[in-house]
């Protein structure tokens, strides 16, 4: 089971969209994941607390992270989505 922390401005709106899309994507690729949502401002401290396998942000994420981070804006815009998905799957498969 992989854990992904998804961060956006309020932990409500855009992070829900990204989290759901990532969950669906992982299901299609037979990767078991759990997503946790949080606010961008709390992302670094939450990440150090729950030690996820990956942090995805819909905005810039301030602070130091114990794992890889990925800009999830492509899930909202659809621009360079393919590259973003490839990167995501690569991180999760390792």
């Amino acid at each position: 089971m992989k854990t992904i922390l998804v961060a956006c401005g309020t932990a409500i709106a855009t992070s829900t969209v990204v989290a759901k899309k990532v969950e669906r994507l992982c299901e299609q690729n037979n990767i078991e994941v759990k997503t946790v949502q949080c606010k961008a401002a709390d992302a670094a401290s939450r990440a150090n607390e729950i030690l996820p396998d990956l942090v995805i942000g819909t905005c810039d994420l301030p602070g130091n992270f114990p794992c890889e981070t990925l800009n999830g804006r492509a899930f909202l815009t659809g621009i360079k989505l393919k590259e973003c998905i490839d990167e995501l799957l690569e991180v999760l498969k390792n």
Partner: protein, 434 residues
């Protein structure tokens, strides 16, 4: 015609939790989703709405006696409780205006892009709720007459038209300050405020002495971080209000007073944490429609160089925005007490202030001194219009079968003040229709 009307009112009478799943299923099918997916999404929305209702009723039962006691004991004037943007969005997405305004906004966007009036392709369906809210407000107050519908849809078209243009204008600054390449922010509650802050910034830039002051926001996030947490904020403000209401009563039992303070604090903390969870369900319910809309729009304009219009949330992670958002908390609380005409008690949307200060970061590129001045001016505007919005927000919530506080208290949100430009067509509609 009679039959059509009675079918409509039959459905509307069942309330938002049944009506919206039906509307979203149909809307999903129209936009090209599969039936099963559309139905499940629609029902998820309904579940979120029922959950939200449960949470708001916790808030109402908690806050009603506290607000009443504050009014009785102190003549407290901050009786419009800020229950946050989330409740406003839920109400906006739950009225009969949804399908019509939704389609009107998409068509407006397509026509404006086709005519070259805007480069922003707005795929942020969720935030159509800003104009949906004002449309619903007009329909409620003007009692759904044909003229009211003209105003409701007309204002949605005009307001979104304005915000598409503002999104274009501010796009270059969004790239420079936030690094949002190819992205613009057609988000009324955040960006309409640029109409005020950009000229204001020009004025400050001309005043000798002030124009050269430059402060940075380094270190603020670390110092004030905990303040912005809804769970802490809810507990502290809820507990404080409860204390204030009890220790001003003629007879006080300290033991029970402390119990009450803790109970009220925990309940308000619970509300501020739970409302967003419910909204996540609403968003999930909207996702198929929003995905299909994106596909639909992109097919219309292949190869055109366009900005993708997103939720201003994508800018809220920037340290400038987070810092100013935190500093705005004490600013708006002090203003709420000082402004003689204000009745808003800022609460839930204190956590959403980063959205409402983006406009005070963009023009000055993160100069905290100017940002603070602009934030103060904007907060005055937000409070003024949130106060104005309280009556109609309370009635709309009642009409959507949400449990609203009784007696002295009303509900509103700072978000509704932040979409202040939409209240002008509302006033106009009221003048013409009534």
């Amino acid at each position: 015609m009679q039959a059509v009307t009675s079918v409509f009112s039959y459905i509307i009478d069942m309330g938002a939790s049944v009506m919206m799943p039906i509307i979203f299923t149909i809307l999903g099918l129209v936009m090209g989703s599969k039936f099963g997916e559309a139905l499940r999404a629609g029902m998820t929305f309904g579940v979120g709405f029922i959950g939200l209702n449960a949470v708001i009723s916790i808030m109402s039962t908690t806050i009603t006696p506290v607000a009443q006691a504050l009014v009785d004991n102190l003549g407290f004037k901050l009786t419009s409780i800020d229950i946050g943007w989330a409740a406003g969005s839920a109400i906006a997405w739950s009225t009969e205006a949804v399908p019509f305004v939704f389609l009107a906004v998409i068509i407006t966007n397509i026509i404006m892009i086709a005519l070259g009036w805007t480069k922003t392709m707005d795929v942020d369906i969720w935030n159509y709720w800003h104009v949906l809210f004002s449309a619903s407000a007009i329909l409620l107050v003007c009692k759904g007459t044909a003229l009211a519908w003209v105003f409701a849809i007309g204002q949605a078209v005009v307001m979104m038209g304005i915000i598409f243009v503002i999104a274009d204008w501010t796009q270059a600054d969004c790239v420079e300050v936030f690094g949002l390449e190819g992205i613009s922010l057609p988000h009324i509650q955040s960006m309409c405020n640029c109409i005020v802050t950009y000229p204001l910034d020009k004025v400050i830039g001309m005043i000798p002495g002030l124009k050269d002051i430059h402060w940075t926001s380094e270190g603020i996030v670390e110092k004030l971080g905990l303040l912005g947490e809804p769970i802490m904020m809810g507990f502290i403000i809820g507990g404080f209000l409860s204390a204030l209401s009890q220790f001003t009563a003629p007879e006080v039992n300290v033991g029970t007073a402390i119990q009450q303070i803790l109970i009220v604090g925990m309940n308000i903390a619970a509300v501020l944490v739970l409302i967003p969870r419910m909204i996540s369900l609403l968003m999930e319910g909207l996702m198929p429609i929003s995905e299909q809309t994106q596909v639909f729009l992109e097919k219309r304009f292949p190869g055109r160089e366009l900005y993708i219009g997103l939720d201003a949330a994508v800018a809220t992670g920037h340290p400038f925005v987070i810092s100013l958002g935190l500093l705005a908390i004490p600013i708006i609380l002090v203003l709420a007490i000082v402004l003689p005409w204000n009745t808003v008690l800022p609460l839930a949307d204190l956590a959403a202030l980063p959205f409402y200060v983006i406009c005070a970061v963009l023009p000055n590129k993160g100069n905290l001194f100017r940002g603070l001045i602009e934030t103060i001016i904007m907060c005055i505007i937000y409070l003024t219009f949130s106060t104005y919005a309280a009556t109609v927000m309370t009635s709309l919530a009642g009409a959507a079968n949400l449990q609203v506080p009784e007696g002295a208290a009303q509900i509103t949100s700072i978000a509704l003040g932040a979409q202040w430009i939409t209240w002008f067509p509302f006033m106009l509609a009221k003048m013409v229709c009534l």
